[in-house]
Each structure stands twice: as structure tokens, then as C-alpha cells.
Symmetry: C2
Subunit: 413 residues, 2 copies
């Protein structure tokens, strides 16, 4: 497996004002190509740090990719030092100078002298086009080693990687997407539970590597299947996916870019059903998740944020006697809320959430994290008790996602 080393340049990454998402993007894309990132380094804009980082990278990996530091003021520095490390120097490329000149002319501005630096490249280098900015990228191969320089802004960097750099890496390292990288998404069991459930699969992953990732209450299994070619890899993935399916079953809610919202949206559209919500402790979060996707008005009626008891009785016709007898956080109230919103809205399905998000308001019998989720459709009405551990926002997010998951399971019956 080829190895890559990533370098991020930029003071904003060192003073804690910006999170480096570029390296996360590149790690994923490279891994899918069969290139493993073995290290990464974040540096400021001084030549010694840049030189150091490139030397470490070239010493430990086949490919060194740097992002950032290509603006007109710093351009020279990264490009110059990287070229020196590769034993070459920068020369002006007339065609690149013309391209820059044209860029400024189109904007009716005179090109500042300083920008001419952006038209300098080592003679051996290939220029990576940047249709979205002034700074082109650079690709330089020498012997078995490659360095590539990409711009820092993600909206310039991502298309340049995909359209320019990846094809060159495939050409020079005879790579093709042979491997398949897919994500299996789970709600219900926690990370260590999933690990236990699929222990046998993890011990014997035949041609795959598996990684467990906990994400906002979900557990993702990232599977990289490495076969002889793409079809072979797909076959390997399918067979391990079946084995995982046997162990995890209905707790798998989706794959890859699926979200609970998108899965539920798909089911509602397929079955031509509408939904309305009645939310207490989540304060509107479930509604927000249900409207994350465009076109949600075809299945989402709306709902009530019944945060106060007054809102529950007034807007959802929850009986005061139920609130008095069982309390606002009870299966009875959850069911009354779900029935109430179905009646008010005329939607097919009503889903409700009531619980204690904390940190205050818990008691021995009703601790923080206790949540009831109700679901009503036609004459059917049920509630489920859940107990979550976490902080206020964690409990709220888990509550809303669990409500979506209960709707999913109901619709998949």
C-alpha cells in the first residue's frame, strides 16, 4: 500500500480559530484509492518549518500533499521550499503569466507585480488548474516520490484534488479504484456493544478492514474491501455486509450518505404518508431534522413544540388529568401527545417526545435522560421508554434520532 503524508499550512490552523477539515477529506479520498495517510503536520509560514515537514514527509511516505500557503504573498515560500527539497528551482511560465493577466483583465484590474510569483513553477512540474481562484496547484514527481501543492480554501482544494490530482496519482502509481469503501450506519446499540456483536466478523474480516466510529449517538462501521478489482471488492463487501447484517439486523438504518432523516423521508414518500410532530424536551429539534432535506413539505405537516404543560393541553388536547396523574414525562403523556397531534393535523403519523434533558429536573424515579417517544397512526398508538446517558444536548440529539428511528421501524414493518 502506498503511503501519503499531509502538510497543512496556515497560522489560522495554529491559533485555534479554524479546524482543519482538508486533511479529513484527503485522508478519506486517498484511502479509497488504496493510499494510506501515515502522518500529517500543521505548520506556520516559515521556511524552516516547511522544509522540515517536507523532509519528514518524503522520508516516511511516497506522496506528500500540502494544502494552503499558495496565496500571492506566501505562494513563493511553500512552492520555493518544496521545489528546493525536490532539488529543483522555479522558473516563470509565460502561459501561466498570460492566464493570470487574463484573470485580472476580465475583472478590469491591473495585475499586481506580486502575483507574477503564481506563474512560476519548476520545469519538471505539472500545473494543477484552479478555475475557482488565482493560485494554481502543483504536482512534481521525482524518482518514486511525489509532492503536490493544493490551495487552502476547501471549495478550491476539493475540486482540484478530484479533477486534477487524483488522475495524476492514478497515472503515476498505476492506481485504480480497486477498493470499495462503504459505511454501515447503526442506531441503537453503543460502540462497545456493536464491537461485541460483530467480534467474530472483526476477527476474520476476509479481505476487508473495519473501523468503528461513534458519531452523535450513531455507530458507523467503515468497511474497506480490497479485492483484485472493483467487482471483486464489491463482492467482498457484500459478503461481509451480509455477515454484519446477520449480527446487527434491524439496527442498521442505512449506508454511506444515508441519514435517519433521509431514510425516513424516503419511506414516507414511498408510502405517500404525512407526518406531524409533538416535541417537548427536544424543543423543535425533531422538526428541524425532518426538514433538513429539500422537498420535505411533501411529507411534513409541521407540529407543536409543547414545551410547557399549557402548550400540551391547549395545542394537543392532552388531558390535564393525565398530566396530574402520570406527569409530563410518562408513557401516557407521550401517547396523548402523539394522538393529539394526529388529530390536530390530520397527518397520517404523529410522533411525540417527552423527557428530561437535564442537567436539572431529574428525580430518583424519573432521572435525567429518561425519555418517552410516542407514535400514533390511525387507531394504533404506542410509546417506548428510553434511558440515555450524556449531557443536555447529547440527550436531546439522541431523543430526536431515536424518534426518527422508531418511525423508520414502524414504516419498515
Amino acid at each position: 500500500m502506498k503511503k501519503a503524508y499531509l502538510i497543512s499550512t496556515g497560522t489560522e490552523l495554529l491559533i485555534g480559530s479554524t479546524i482543519d477539515t482538508n486533511s479529513v477529506f484527503l485522508s478519506e479520498k486517498l484511502l479509497a484509492l488504496g493510499i494510506r495517510v501515515t502522518g500529517k503536520s500543521t505548520i506556520g509560514d516559515n521556511p524552516e518549518s516547511i522544509r522540515n515537514a517536507f523532509n519528514i514527509g518524503l522520508g516516511s511516505a511516497d506522496i506528500v500533499i500540502s494544502t494552503g500557503g499558495l496565496g500571492p504573498t506566501f505562494d513563493d515560500l511553500t512552492k520555493k521550499v518544496a521545489s528546493e527539497v525536490m532539488g529543483t528551482t522555479l522558473e516563470l511560465r509565460p502561459e501561466e503569466a498570460e492566464r493570470l493577466q487574463a484573470f485580472f483583465e476580465r475583472r478590469r484590474r491591473k495585475m499586481p507585480e506580486i502575483n507574477l510569483k503564481q506563474a512560476k513553477f519548476p520545469p519538471e512540474a505539472e500545473v494543477l488548474a484552479n478555475p475557482l481562484g488565482t493560485a494554481p496547484g502543483m504536482y512534481l514527481k521525482k524518482g518514486e516520490k511525489v509532492i503536490a501543492l493544493l490551495p487552502g480554501p476547501p471549495r478550491e482544494m476539493r475540486p482540484m484534488y478530484l479533477n486534477e490530482l487524483e488522475p495524476l496519482l492514478c497515472r503515476d502509481f498505476r492506481l485504480e479504484r480497486k477498493s470499495v469503501m462503504r459505511t454501515i450506519k447503526i442506531l441503537g446499540p453503543g460502540e462497545s456493544q456493536v464491537e461485541e456483536l460483530i467480534a467474530e466478523v472483526m476477527k476474520n474480516p476476509v479481505g476487508c478492514s473495519l473501523a468503528l466510529i461513534a458519531y452523535e449517538g450513531e455507530v458507523h462501521i467503515r468497511v474497506t474491501a480490497e479485492g483484485e478489482d472493483l467487482d471483486h471488492s464489491r463482492g467482498i463487501f457484500d459478503s461481509i455486509s451480509n455477515r454484519i447484517q446477520e449480527k446487527i439486523g434491524h439496527n442498521i438504518f442505512g449506508y454511506d450518505d444515508d441519514s435517519l432523516s433521509s431514510v425516513v423521508a424516503g419511506l414516507l414518500k414511498d408510502q405517500q404518508k404525512t407526518i406531524a410532530v409533538a416535541e417537548s424536551c427536544t424543543g423543535g429539534l425533531l422538526g428541524r431534522l425532518l426538514t433538513d432535506l429539500p422537498g420535505s413539505s411533501s411529507y411534513f405537516w409541521g407540529g407543536v413544540i409543547s414545551y410547557s404543560n399549557n402548550a400540551k393541553t391547549k395545542m394537543l388536547n392532552v388531558d390535564n388529568a393525565i398530566l396530574d396523574k402520570y406527569g409530563a414525562v410518562s408513557p401516557q403523556t407521550a401517547e396523548a401527545m402523539a394522538r393529539g397531534i394526529v388529530k390536530q393535523s390530520g397527518a397520517d403519523i404523529g410522533v411525540s417526545i417527552t423527557g428530561i434533558a437535564g442537567p436539572e429536573g431529574g428525580t430518583d424515579s424519573k432521572p435525567v435522560g429518561l425519555v418517552y417517544i410516542g407514535l400514533a397512526e390511525g387507531g394504533f398508538c404506542q410509546s417506548k421508554e428510553l434511558r440515555f446517558v450524556g449531557d443536555r444536548n447529547g440527550i436531546r440529539m439522541l431523543s430526536a434520532k431515536s424518534a426518527l428511528d422508531i418511525v423508520r421501524r414502524h414504516l419498515q414493518k
Copy 2:
């Protein structure tokens, strides 16, 4: 200014499954202490990479702080290599072994042999207590250089930094918080507008450094004031803050840990007022923001997610004639929604949002990004037209935050 170098250990940081927030936290805290992070490196768990990273760090900085790699399986590796780099070796500390033993006994489990590694430290090192996990941290000073090892999980790392490591750094480098780092938070003008407005301040920041940070529609000005001592720095901050205030005025909604939700919550509590919401395109997001903080039931009644026109007429008594004549996205509808929720809820203030979040549904006269926000209190009712640029979720977030900001301005009148 002292320099620090950060090392993050963990394969999950290299395969793109986890974003490294630890280094962002540490960069900020160290900067406030007067220590500048000059570089950082992310590595897997092989001894050569670890050795390399520590050597680079010690060569370029005074303090090297590593996070992660302290679990029972890897613990030995990072601690061992770091100790070797510092010219020392690990020895068992009986008191740490006892502490570990006790940790397992309290959980009625036998301590696995492998965990004993976690009780080994160089004789010169100081142990950093970890009340939240099994892996203690380590602090080792030799000559003018320091290395510190912290655990990877943020909930263990953060308190260990604050309670254990920071006091030792202050002791050994005779640091005290001389500088003041504060954040001025703005909603309204965009990043480049703010830059223009405070251009004169940025040119002449007398004793401060300023950084502009765009965050979810807000603009933050991070001010680091570096005086002779804390009082002096506070004075410097106050005077630059006044100058910024003159330029930005009421668009400043808060400072430091303030959020729009917390500012509005404070105003509602002070004025003993309650609020209810009527949300269309935001689908519940405004309600979620208003309930982010514990104790929100004292001012938040709840509300209606009136995503469909049916929900607007049925739950908010918006007149069908208004919807027919002006459309759902109009000042008239926004005001009717605000009046409607006040009437339904009996809350003091009603705030409403209706708009086109896109990507579909826009027309020439009502493009994607057009949003109306209504506010009603007693006999008062007004609406404001806003036009946002961005994707669906960006427009929704900006809409909800602007609604909070309109409530803030109304309450601060």
C-alpha cells in the same frame, strides 16, 4: 514568547473518521497563557513516527504536548518513546499501581496485567491525575524543555490540561496570565463588512492582535491584549473594545461564551417575559436554539412548527385570505403568525419565521433566501425582510439566529 509543539496520536485521526478538536482547544488555551503553538503533527502508533515528532517538537519549541495514545495497549509506546527522547526510562510507581488496583476493585473487576504499564513513569516525571479514566498523564521537564502527555478523549484531556498541566507550566515558565484573550460577537454585517468597518482599528491596534473569524453566520473578533500585567491588558482590551463598539454598535450581541440564545435568555429572565415561536422554513430550529440552555422552561412556552399552510391556518389562525393574497412568504403572513402564536399561547412575545430555504421553490420576485421575521408583543407587531445567500441549512441557521437577534434588539430597546 514561549513556543509549543502539539502531537496528536491516533489512527482514527489519520483515516479521516475523527476531527482533531484537542489541538484547537490547546492552541487557544496556550495562547491565552502567552505560549504560541508553532506547529503540530498527527501520527499513527509506530515508535519511529512518535520519536520523529517528539524530536521535531523539542528542536523547534520549548514545550511539546501530546494527546492520545495513553490507553493500556498503546500507553507504553508513547510514554516509552517520549521518555527515551528525554534521556530517561520508565519505572513502576507502587502508589500508581495501587491507585489502578483500587480503580478496578471499585468496579469489582480484576485488573488485567497489561494495565500495570499505566503505573510506570520516569523517576523525574510528575503524574497528571485523571479522575475520569484509567490513563494518568505525565509531565517531564529537563533543562529548559518540557514534554507533557495527555489522554485523547476530550472529556478527560480538557480538565487534565486545566487542573493539572496549566499550573505546572505557569510554575516552570514563570508564566502568569498577563494577556487577555476575548471574543467580540457580531450578527448582521458579514466578515468583509466588519473588516471594512474596523479597518482603522485594525491598522492601529495598540497592544492588541485582532483576528476575524466567521462562524455560522456570526462574525467573531478575537482580541488578544498583551500588556505588562493582567490589569494593564484589561485596560488595553477595554479601550480597543470601545473603539470597536463605536464602529459596530448594536450589531455586537455578546462577548466570549455568550450565544444569541444565552443573551436572549438573560434578557427574558431579567424582564420576566415569556416567549413562543411560530416557525415555517426553520422547522423547529428556533425552538431548539431557545431550549439549548437548562432552565429554558421559565421563559419558553413552546410554539408551532407551521410548515404547511394548513398548520398556519389551523394552529395559528392565519387568515386564508392573507395566504391567498400575499403568499406564505410575506410580511403579512409573518405578522399574522406572530400575532397568532401570542394569542394561542398567552406568552408575552411571539416571534415567527417564514421564508424560502431552497434549493427549490424560489421565483424571480421571491428568490431562495428571502425570509420574513415577525415579532409581536401586546399591541405591537412588526416584520423584517431579510435576504440570505447560502445553502439550505445555512439559510435556515441564519434565519433562526436573526430571529433571536430581532428579539434581543426588541428587548434591549
